[in-house]
């Protein structure tokens, strides 16, 4: 008998996460699209700019530009597929908004982590990037990737409810992430510079993580109003 008690947010979020992973594993549409997009934009960067000749700051910025565009080419699919196929009605009925947001955020974090783990090594090799402090390099990638996925998820949920859907994604999502792009590029450039003081590195990673946590907090409070029909 249904006893009217709802399962916890975490278990519902994990259910949504598992479902999305299974569905993604079956079709693999998003991951291939995003990977293909990022590898091609890497090639564009390589051919166009003669990557090896760029200074450290430009190389760092270029990496983040590639990752940003890769994220905004596919991370809205977790929402778009649901809206287009009409599966959101039952999901809205049975899962609480916070669980849906958390589940979709986990999917996007995993997707972006997979893409970054492919794109970053290729970029480092291709653009002859000499990393002075690899530990910090990875932590900047992780922190900024977390913030990028968080913002991409909530903006994706918004544009999924709009009509001209994917055309809007970059236009609406990028301004939210401009500060992150600046600080992440600055942080990655510091990682390439052997003389960079640890305090500066620590400061930028802290700043990036703070930005991501801020976005997740704002999204958590606001998401029910995006997700629910009233």
């Amino acid at each position: 008998m249904t006893d009217g008690r709802r399962p916890s947010v975490a278990s519902q979020a994990l259910a949504v996460f598992a479902k999305d992973l299974t569905a993604e594993w079956r079709t693999r549409t998003t991951i291939t699209a995003v990977l293909l997009f990022s590898v091609t934009s890497l090639a564009v960067v390589g051919f166009a700019a003669g990557a090896a000749a760029m200074s450290a700051e430009v190389k760092a910025a270029m990496l983040w530009i590639v990752l940003f565009f890769a994220a905004f080419s596919g991370l809205a699919n977790v929402w778009l597929h649901e809206e287009e196929r009409g599966t959101t009605l039952l999901l809205r009925l049975h899962a609480c908004p916070e669980a849906v947001y958390l589940g979709k955020l986990l999917v996007n974090l995993l997707t972006l982590a997979a893409v970054t783990s492919v794109v970053a090594p290729i970029y480092v090799a291709m653009a002859d990037v000499r990393i002075a402090s690899p530990g910090w390099f990875v932590s900047v990638l992780g922190a900024a990737g977390f913030s990028l996925a968080a913002a991409a998820t909530v903006v994706g949920a918004m544009i999924a409810r709009a009509n001209a859907r994917s055309a809007l994604y970059g236009a609406v999502g990028f301004p939210v992430l401009l500060p992150l792009l600046m600080v992440a590029a600055h942080g990655t450039a510091l990682c390439l510079d052997p003389a960079a003081p640890v305090t500066a590195l620590h400061g930028t990673v802290a700043g990036i993580t703070a930005f991501g946590v801020g976005v997740v907090a704002a999204s958590w409070l606001v998401f029910p109003y995006i997700w629910e029909d009233m």
């Binding site: 008998m1 399962p7 278990s11 949504v16 299974t22 079956r26 009605l89 009925l93 029909d229």
Partner: protein, 213 residues
């Protein structure tokens, strides 16, 4: 599960209305259905049958009037009411990439139930899909997909079963399964179905006609 008396659940609509901007989907609906009862909502296309079901389910708020769902003496608001509800409708799709069984497990897990093989077998056999559970829903025919929706709606013995056009895309045998489902629900709580097919409306004890004015 011992078939104890159906839980005390009651749905009371008092002058319920819903408008989108300045257009009224429906207005002034007053009805009540008690545990073990079946209420049918009929009316021409566009008279707001599906919207009324959504308002009862708590997915949409009524613009005027109230919708009271009382479960075990406790009034459930829009959010807490959802755990009691099973919902099946043409526009409520299931996940095409997943198999029939995975869909049932997913929706049960969302409601905190772990389904064992027997539950799954029972649910599938009730709608005549036994043996097709492992196939992907994308490969189902529209009639099979609708049967799976009925199974997904009834999977966790909901106290409140909401069915929008329960017989759509169904053949004679499928219709019989749907009727059986509604009859079985009488021992578990309430059914509210929206239809304009007289055969389905005949399953109900009480009928509310929309779009009359």
């Amino acid at each position: 599960m011992a078939e104890c008396s159906p839980p005390d659940v009651r749905v009371v609509l008092a002058n319920t209305g819903r408008a989108f901007g300045r257009r009224w989907a429906f207005r002034g609906v007053t009805a009540q259905v008690r545990s073990g009862g079946v209420l049918a909502i009929t009316g021409p296309n566009g008279s707001g049958k599906s919207t009324l079901l959504r308002v009862i389910s708590g997915l949409l708020l009524p613009t005027t009037g109230t919708v009271d769902v009382v479960f075990g003496g406790v009034h459930c608001d829009a959010a807490s009411r959802r755990a009691l509800i099973g919902y099946a409708a043409p526009e409520a799709a299931l996940y095409g990439e997943l198999s029939g069984v995975e869909n049932l497990k997913f929706f049960a897990r969302l409601r905190g139930h772990r389904l064992c093989r027997e539950d799954l077998a029972a649910a599938l056999s009730q709608v005549g899909l036994l043996g097709r559970g492992r196939d992907r829903v994308a490969d189902y025919s529209s009639g099979m997909r609708h049967r799976l929706k009925l199974a997904a709606a009834a999977i966790c013995q909901p106290a409140l079963l909401l069915l929008d056009e329960p017989g759509s895309n169904l053949d004679a045998e499928g219709l019989e399964c749907a009727r059986g489902l509604v009859e079985r629900q009488r021992t578990r709580g309430i059914t509210v179905l929206a239809t304009n097919d007289p055969r389905e409306a005949a399953w109900a004890d009480e009928i509310v006609r929309l779009g009359g004015d």
